[in-house]
């Protein structure tokens, strides 16, 4: 059967995602948040999710709606501080001990996901050595560099945002939209690309930024963010 990864709706794109899933969500600074898919995930009303997302509190991402709805058990991120004086939904639950947090240096966060998608179970990095974020982690010295052992992150679902996807799942990004998307797409059992538009004709090979090998489902949402 001819491959066609385009699906008709955001809800359909989440078929097979269950309670307790680990969900990787892309986005940085307002670019690349798959907000239509995040809302669809919220509407699925799952419990006990682990979110792997760079910021737990960014105001432009709808991640906080999943958190506020009590669907999230744990967040792995590099930023967990709200901007306002009042605590963010994440911070309230975290202070009440109702949500677990793993805070990582952003590059270690990205590399753990990349490693997960590249078949590397763990790696040593100098980043974080001697800091609170390395507490309890295995350390080793290479030459004169002290390093911390970090393990790979994989997940059940990756939600990423791109500009265009073709029927084969190949994706193009706009500007800084890619951020964590390409790495996350490699590290999840099911990757959903939320894009502005999908097309039947293949994207020119040299323009593809994320191979369709890593994308299972593509949903066109127009300019909505």
């Amino acid at each position: 059967m001819a491959i066609d990864k385009r699906v008709a709706s955001a809800a359909e794109a989440l078929d097979g995602i269950e309670d307790g899933a680990t969900v990787l969500i892309s986005g940085f600074g307002g670019a690349g948040f798959p907000n239509i898919m995040i809302r669809a995930l919220r509407d699925r009303d799952l419990k006990g999710l682990t979110l792997v997302v760079n910021s737990a509190t960014h105001p432009f991402s709808y991640t906080h709606e999943l958190i506020e709805a009590g669907q999230v058990q744990k967040v792995i991120c590099s930023a967990a501080r709200g901007r306002g004086k009042e605590p963010s939904p994440f911070e309230k639950l975290w202070m009440d001990g109702k949500i677990e947090l793993e805070c990582l240096p952003q590059g270690t966060f990205a590399e753990r996901i990349r490693a997960g998608g590249a078949g590397i179970p763990a790696f040593y990095t100098p980043v974080g050595f001697g800091t609170d974020l390395a507490a309890g982690k295995e350390v080793r010295r290479f030459g004169d560099v002290d390093c911390v052992l970090e393990t790979a992150i994989t997940g059940d679902l990756a939600l990423i945002r791109g500009d265009v996807a073709d029927r084969y799942g190949n994706v193009i990004f706009r500007h800084a939209q890619a951020n964590f998307g390409p790495a996350m797409a490699t590290a999840a059992r099911i990757t959903v690309a939320e894009v502005r538009e999908t097309q039947a004709e293949p994207i020119a090979p040299e323009r593809v930024q994320l191979s369709g090998v890593y994308v299972n489902r593509a949903v066109a949402v127009g300019d909505a963010r």
Partner: protein
């Protein structure tokens, strides 16, 4: 004695940015450095979200929500700019391909330890972002910060009191009253703001300062 303003501190740091380098600017005062680059210096500003070649902030007509920097500012691109994904961006940072990072800080110790990520604010979550990666990975780490806290407490310390970001990484510090290098022997003062004596500078600093006889004068133009 007139301490430097935020813009003047950024101006002073900009004078040391060398032609042809790749530079990452932290959020806050450091991002202002790009406004004061001396004429004729061709520099690529790297932003941790994968933009290499950040241009001036976007005007309202230029604004594009998909084109932002590490501080979520809407930006433009300079000629020759490229955009990579976050994993590649941090490989660039960790791999030693960034010549200089200029960061804000809460404290610096005389051995170069940096504390700039966790102020221990009550009722707020942690926020580390790319601070640790930059402090470890960039070839040179420079810091811009006020010499003292709002309460007048010192920030140049024998040992950091706040949680550290990285060990022995800071090479130069620009404060509102001095420019200070971190050498094997500790802090060495290179410039002191006009009208401040070495003893007055020492009184505002916890760690020992080495102040050479020929120490320079810290001056910046009136930037309004």
């Amino acid at each position: 004695m007139k301490p430097l303003t935020r813009n003047q501190m950024a101006w002073r740091a900009a004078q040391d940015v060398e032609d042809g380098t790749v530079v990452n600017l932290g959020i806050g005062i450091p991002v202002l450095v790009s406004d004061y680059l001396p004429e004729g210096r061709d520099v690529f500003f790297q932003s941790e979200n994968g933009v290499i070649g950040v241009g001036p902030a976007a005007t309202p007509e230029q604004e594009d929500p998909d084109l932002v920097d590490a501080g979520s500012r809407r930006i433009t691109l300079r000629p020759g700019a490229t955009i990579v994904d976050s994993a590649a961006s941090f490989a660039m940072i960790r791999g030693g391909h960034i010549d200089v990072t200029i960061l804000g800080a809460f404290e610096v110790a005389s051995n170069g330890d940096l504390a700039n990520w966790d102020m221990r604010i009550p009722n707020k979550g942690p926020l580390v972002g790319g601070a640790m990666d930059l402090a470890v990975g960039a070839k040179a780490v420079r810091v811009i910060m006020e010499h003292n806290t709002r309460k007048g407490e010192p920030r140049l310390l024998d040992a950091c009191r706040l949680p550290v970001t990285a060990l022995e990484c800071v090479k130069r510090i620009y404060t509102d009253i001095a420019v200070i290098d971190v050498e094997a022997t500790g802090f060495v003062v290179r410039e002191i703001v006009e009208g401040l004596s070495p003893d007055e500078l020492r009184a505002r600093t916890e760690a020992e300062l080495s102040i050479p006889q020929d120490v320079g004068v810290l001056r910046a133009p009136d930037l309004g």
